[in-house]
């Protein structure tokens, strides 16, 4: 590869150096020269639509947008002049006049709005054009996302984000000229859209109050919030979160662009489900007295747990924990006699495989061929799905999917197979598609551990071996449970089927740590016989953040901290250790999982 040529140009009288191919804006920003922007976002492709970043090039009769004009060696650029200021002001005045940008009742008021900020910076006290006051719709049908056309400036940041970050291209611009407007799925609404995943990246990209989070609307000015950086614990991807809080409550959650894993992106689970969903929190210890769960003090509850534990013999006791527990809890868990971590079907085998693939996300990004075996990231690991979509759709990578269940990724696949019906001819085609793979990546989920999955894996490996040329695929294990890989590696037994595990040794004492599982651990009861088995146990202690069918049948309920209250580390599917930073103090009397377990042991 040839190194890009160095270029030197003059910006506002300053000598600035950069590389050929860089835009004027990039070089100016690298030299701390401020050029106003509106439609530009660093992580998106430039569009050059808003004309705020216009600059003059000495010797050229017209102004050019700095965001999309390549810098040229030896040119003299002026970013700030009386005529540029006038042009930018006119642009802003036109934007203000076109739709109903009425600041006093906007969700984005108080300085969070970039259009408003630009108005202030350009000293706009009133506009010279008549206001159009168009009648425009507001789409409130989405579960989390709202679209107010009155506030839209058509910067297309949402459209580009949807295409370039989430890869679904749910959003686009409809109609021509003054009738331009943002549409979801060719005219559907957020509520009826098939392709929108509610990842919320469009909202994060919107400079005005056009796209907003319903749960965050009017809850506080972001500019005055405390921002805490932590890691999402909803799945094993471990995306970076920026949590905005005010007066000990969450105002909004955004993706962290400094996260090496997610690079600013999130899926619906991390972006919304953790804070925009109503859940019934357990705020104090509960103790069953005369058949009813009643509030108790921590001392009473812990005393009851210890007494019940003492009554049972070591073989009659067990601790079953959620895979959401952090790495620091492993040492505490090992002090218990018998402890298991409940994982998804076939995930135990996946944990035992021992494959570790550092920088999996980067490998997915660079891949020219992606094989997806027994994993369904659109369903379980949204940010991995987004990465696959963008790599396939924007970089032309090939996609091969072997799965028994459909997902939206199927439509982008070169080969998409139900793994049950495979013939010889089919494998010839697979070999053909894989023929030129230079940077192949194989993502395998729990279902790859089934006999059929293993058979497919063996066939694929044979194909790669037969090629004799080109590299073997990077193997990326993709579990569905948050910290299952690390907990299993730490010696905590992965439990796929709770029933047989409970039945192996009849129990008198069972301590279930559901932690902040959204369902409070209730899904354990969905498995056959488990409810009956649990009901037979003398003492069931449930440590959980949310009330559920499981906590309802416990003898003792211990309130656990939730994601934004946790401190420690987790290890993601790339085997990267990621920090959990407490954003808020635990609500009510909730405590950290590890702290509770240590107290029980005393």
């Amino acid at each position: 590869m040839i190194a890009p040529k160095k270029i030197t140009l003059t910006i506002d009288g300053r000598r600035c150096t950069g590389q050929e191919g860089q835009t004027i804006l990039q070089i100016a920003q690298a030299h701390d020269i401020h050029i106003p922007t509106l439609c530009y976002l660093k992580h998106l492709s430039p569009w050059g639509g808003c004309r705020m970043c216009i600059v003059e090039i000495v010797g050229s009769p017209k102004v050019v947008p700095a965001c999309s004009t390549p810098a040229m060696d030896g040119k003299q650029v002026v970013t700030n002049s009386e005529s540029l200021h006038k042009l930018r002001r006119s642009t802003l005045e036109l934007l203000f006049s076109e739709r109903n940008h009425i600041c006093p009742f906007c969700v984005m008021n108080n300085g969070d709005c970039e259009l408003q900020q630009q108005g202030y910076r350009h000293g706009i006290d009133a506009i010279r054009f008549p206001y159009l006051y168009p009648a425009l719709p507001v789409d409130l049908s989405g579960k989390y996302i709202a679209l107010d056309q009155n506030r839209c400036i058509l910067c297309t940041r949402c459209v580009r984000t949807c295409e370039e970050m989430e890869g679904t291209h749910s959003l686009d611009i409809a109609n021509r000229g003054a009738k331009n407007h943002v549409v979801v799925d060719l005219g559907a609404t957020f509520g009826t859209s098939d392709s929108c995943t509610s990842c919320g990246a469009c909202v994060a990209a919107c400079p005005t109050g056009a796209l907003f989070d319903k749960a965050a609307a009017f809850r506080g000015k972001l500019g005055t919030c405390r921002i805490v950086r932590t890691t999402c614990t909803e799945c094993p991807v471990g995306c970076g979160l920026l949590v905005y809080t005010k007066e000990n409550r969450i105002v909004e959650v955004f993706g962290d662009f400094d996260s090496p894993v997610s690079e600013g992106h999130l899926c619906v689970r991390g972006r919304y489900e953790t804070w925009a969903e109503p859940r019934r929190r357990i705020l104090q210890p509960l103790l069953r007295r005369h058949g009813k769960l009643e509030p108790a003090t921590w001392d009473e509850a812990l005393q009851a747990v210890r007494q019940a534990a003492q009554k049972a013999k070591p073989v009659q006791k067990a601790v079953l924990v959620s895979p959401r527990l952090n790495n620091e809890t492993v040492a505490t868990l090992k002090k218990f006699e018998r402890v298991g971590v409940f994982v998804a079907q076939n995930e135990a085998a996946l944990c035992a495989e021992g494959d570790r693939c550092p920088d999996s996300m980067a490998k997915l990004h660079d891949a020219d061929t992606i094989i997806l075996l027994g994993a369904r990231p659109s369903h379980a690991q949204g940010v991995v799905a987004a990465k696959i979509r963008t790599t396939v759709r924007r970089q032309g990578a090939k996609l091969l999917i072997f799965h028994t269940r459909k997902s939206d990724l199927d439509q982008y696949a070169d080969i998409c197979a139900n793994v049950v019906s495979l013939e010889h001819k089919f494998w010839d085609r697979v070999a053909e598609v894989l023929q030129d793979a230079k940077r192949p990546v194989l993502v395998y989920g729990p279902e790859a551990m089934t006999p059929i999955g293993v058979a497919v894996l063996e066939r694929l490996i044979k194909i790669f071996e037969a090629k004799n040329a080109g590299p073997a695929p990077a193997l990326i294990p993709l579990p569905t449970s948050t910290n299952s890989l690390k907990l299993a590696a730490g010696g905590i037994e992965p439990v796929e089927e709770v029933g047989p595990w409970l039945d192996l040794k009849p129990l008198k004492f069972l301590h279930i740590v559901a932690s902040d599982e959204p369902d409070g651990g209730a899904r354990l009861l969905d498995e056959r016989y488990v409810r009956a088995l649990v009901e037979e146990i003398d003492c069931v202690v449930v440590q959980a953040a949310y009330q559920s069918r499981l906590t309802d049948l416990a003898q003792v309920v211990l309130p656990a901290a939730i994601w934004c209250e946790k401190q420690g580390t987790i290890t993601n599917f790339e085997w990267r250790e990621l920090p959990l930073q407490a954003v808020l103090p635990p609500r009510g009397e909730a405590r950290q999982d590890r702290e509770i377990l240590e107290a029980v042991l005393k």
């Binding site: 009425i102 008549p130 009648a135």
Partner: protein
């Protein structure tokens, strides 16, 4: 502050309240003790604060509110004709703001909603007395009717901003707007 100009005649001011909530006049009263200093320099003639209705010839006219009906328009044009400097005070006068929300709907629907269909109305009637000013089809900011010399945006503009503008004008300077003193909300 060099505001001691007792030898000079007082600057005459009139203020009017068009289609607005009076919040801008309230904000004007928020000048608090600075009002004492202000009345040493200015005479407030016609104003909702003095309750004087007839607008005399003045130096400065201050307008709160958007132009919603024919009376608003008449008052605005009268003030413009009788003042030297016209100040648009607040967002309604400058952008239409909340009163302009009705621009998205048909006027007949708006009137029916307001006088007949409201939940608390038992027997609604749309006023037809000629004393009641006719509503304009669209609510518009004042600069679409008359020349405005100074705009003070804000909903409402805070007292400090009003003070800044008035003292600058009294000192013979035009107020300068930038990101520190501008506010639209």
């Amino acid at each position: 502050m060099k505001m001691n100009m007792s030898d000079k005649p007082k600057v005459k001011v009139a203020t009017v309240w068009l289609g607005g909530c009076s919040g801008c006049h309230m904000s004007f009263l928020d000048l608090d003790e600075r009002l004492v200093e202000l009345v040493k320099l200015v005479d407030i003639t016609a104003s909702p604060i003095t309750d004087v209705k007839e607008i005399p010839n003045v130096d400065v006219g201050i307008v709160e509110g958007a132009v919603c009906n024919e009376e608003n328009e008449h008052v605005l044009r009268t003030l413009r004709a009788r003042c030297k400097v016209l100040i648009a005070l607040g967002d309604c006068a400058i952008t239409g703001n909340i009163p302009a929300l009705r621009n998205q709907f048909d006027l007949d629907d708006v009137v029916a909603r307001g006088f007949v269909e409201t939940e608390s109305t038992q027997i609604g009637e749309i006023p037809s007395d000629s004393v009641v000013p006719t509503l304009l089809k669209k609510v518009r900011p004042i600069q679409e009717f008359v020349k405005v010399d100074v705009h003070i945006p804000g909903c409402p503009p805070d007292a400090d901003t009003i003070w800044y503008v008035l003292t600058e004008l009294l000192a013979g300077r035009m107020p300068q707007w930038n990101e520190k003193n501008l506010r639209y909300d």
